[in-house]
Symmetry: C2
Subunit: 188 residues, 2 copies
DNA sequence: CGATCCTTTGACGGAAATCAATAGGTGTGG
DNA sequence: CCACACCTATTGATTTCCGTCAAAGGATCG
C-alpha cells in the first residue's frame, strides 16, 4: 500500500514493457495511449482520482500511462495482492468488477469513434469528463481539462484543428458557456 | 455446464436487460452490438468458438449478443460459478485474465476506429478474423466471413458502400486473392 | 522580455458519406 | 426446375465533413 508521486509527463507504465503493480490514482490525472508503428497515437482513456490501472500483472503492457500533471498514486505489487486475496476473496471480485467497468468504458469509446460526428464526440467528451471531475454550481458545471488539446483530439479520433474549430462553434451557439484552455463551463 | 442451441439471429443477451449467466461459444459465431438512441448501431465485436460472453452478472447488459448463424453455447449461471470458485480459486483468475483480453481487444478496436483509414481498417479486420478462424493451405489463408457486409461496416465505422468499394479495390490490386460473400482469401 | 510551445483561425483538398440505380444471391411456390 | 420476389451487395455520381497545409495569435517559462 505504498504511495508514490508521479511528476507531470512521467510514466506509470509503458506500452510493451512489463508491469507488475496495480495502481490507484490518489490525486491528479493520467493519459492512457497506444501508438501505431508509424507513430500515430491513439489516446484510449484518461484516469482520475479513484481510477485503477494495471489490474493484471503482465510482461507487456497494452498501453502507456502518463501523468497529465503532478500526481500521486498508491501501488500494490501483484504478488502481495495475491497473498491478500487468500484471506479476502472479495478482492478478486472487485478486480473483476473493475475490469468490467473499464471494458464498458472502452465500448462507449468505440461507439463514439465508430458512429459519432465531430460535434457529438466533443459534446460526449465534455459530458464524460464533467461527470467524473466536473464541479457544479448554480446550474452550471465547470469541467476541468487538465490535458492539452492534442490529447483530447487523439482521444476523439479528430485532428487538433477540427477539435479547436468544433469547440469554437459550440461556444458560438451557446452550448458551451465558457471556453478556456484548461476548462469549459456548460449548463447542467 | 448446460448446453444450448441458438438459432441464427436469436439473442443470447440484450443491451439494457439483465444477464446472469456466463456463456462460452462452443460452435458458431455471434455479433456484439450497441445502439444509440437514434438507432445508429455500432458492432463492438464478434465472438467465435472458445470466446466468452457475460463474464459478470448484471442487471443491464452493456450490449446485445446475437447469433450470426445457428450456434451452440455452454452456459453457467453466475451463482453456480461462485460456488465452484470457492473450491477452485483459479476460476476467478481465469475470469480476470479473460476480462483483460477482452479489454485489450477493445483497445485495438479503438485504435482502429480512431486512427486508421478505410483501407487499413478493412485489412486489419481480415487479418483479425483470419487469425481467429482462418484456414491456412499452401501459403493461402481462407478467411470465413459469417457476418453480412453491414455488420462488418458497423464494426469498422464505415458505410456499407465504402466497405464494398474498399474490398473491391483490395481485390483489384491483388491484396485479396479471392473475394466472395462469405469468405476472402489472402496470402499469408 | 524574448523564446518556445500550445491553440486558434484561414484556405483548400480529399477521403468517405450520401443519394441512387443496378446486379447478384437466396428462397419460395407454382 | 424455373420464375418471381426479396434481400444483400456492388457500382456510379455527387456532396460534405473533416483533414491538410499554412500562418498568426496567446500562454508560459526561463
Amino acid at each position: 500500500m505504498a504511495r508514490r508521486l508521479v511528476v507531470k509527463n512521467k510514466t506509470l507504465m509503458v506500452e510493451g514493457e512489463p508491469n507488475h503493480s496495480l495502481y490507484v490514482i490518489v490525486d491528479g490525472s493520467f493519459r492512457l495511449s497506444k501508438v501505431l508503428e508509424d507513430g500515430r497515437r491513439q489516446v484510449t482513456g484518461f484516469l482520475f482520482r479513484g481510477d485503477f490501472v494495471g489490474v493484471r500483472s503482465t510482461d507487456a503492457s497494452a498501453y502507456t500511462a502518463e501523468a497529465l500533471e503532478d500526481s500521486s498514486v498508491c501501488f500494490f505489487p501483484h504478488r502481495y495482492l495475491d497473498e491478500i486475496a487468500i484471506d479476502a476473496p472479495g478482492v478478486k471480485d472487485r478486480l473483476i468488477a473493475r475490469g468490467q467497468t473499464e471494458y464498458h468504458k472502452a465500448q462507449d469509446h468505440i461507439v463514439l469513434l465508430g458512429k459519432k460526428t465531430a460535434e457529438e464526440r466533443v459534446i460526449s467528451f465534455i459530458e464524460l469528463i464533467g461527470k467524473t471531475i466536473g464541479v457544479d454550481d448554480d446550474g452550471r458545471r465547470t469541467v476541468p481539462l487538465p490535458m492539452p488539446r492534442q490529447d483530447i483530439a487523439d482521444y476523439l479520433g479528430l485532428r487538433l484543428e477540427t477539435l479547436s474549430r468544433t469547440l469554437a462553434a459550440l461556444k458560438q451557439d451557446g452550448r458551451i458557456l465558457e471556453l478556456a484552455r484548461h476548462h469549459v463551463v456548460i449548463e447542467i
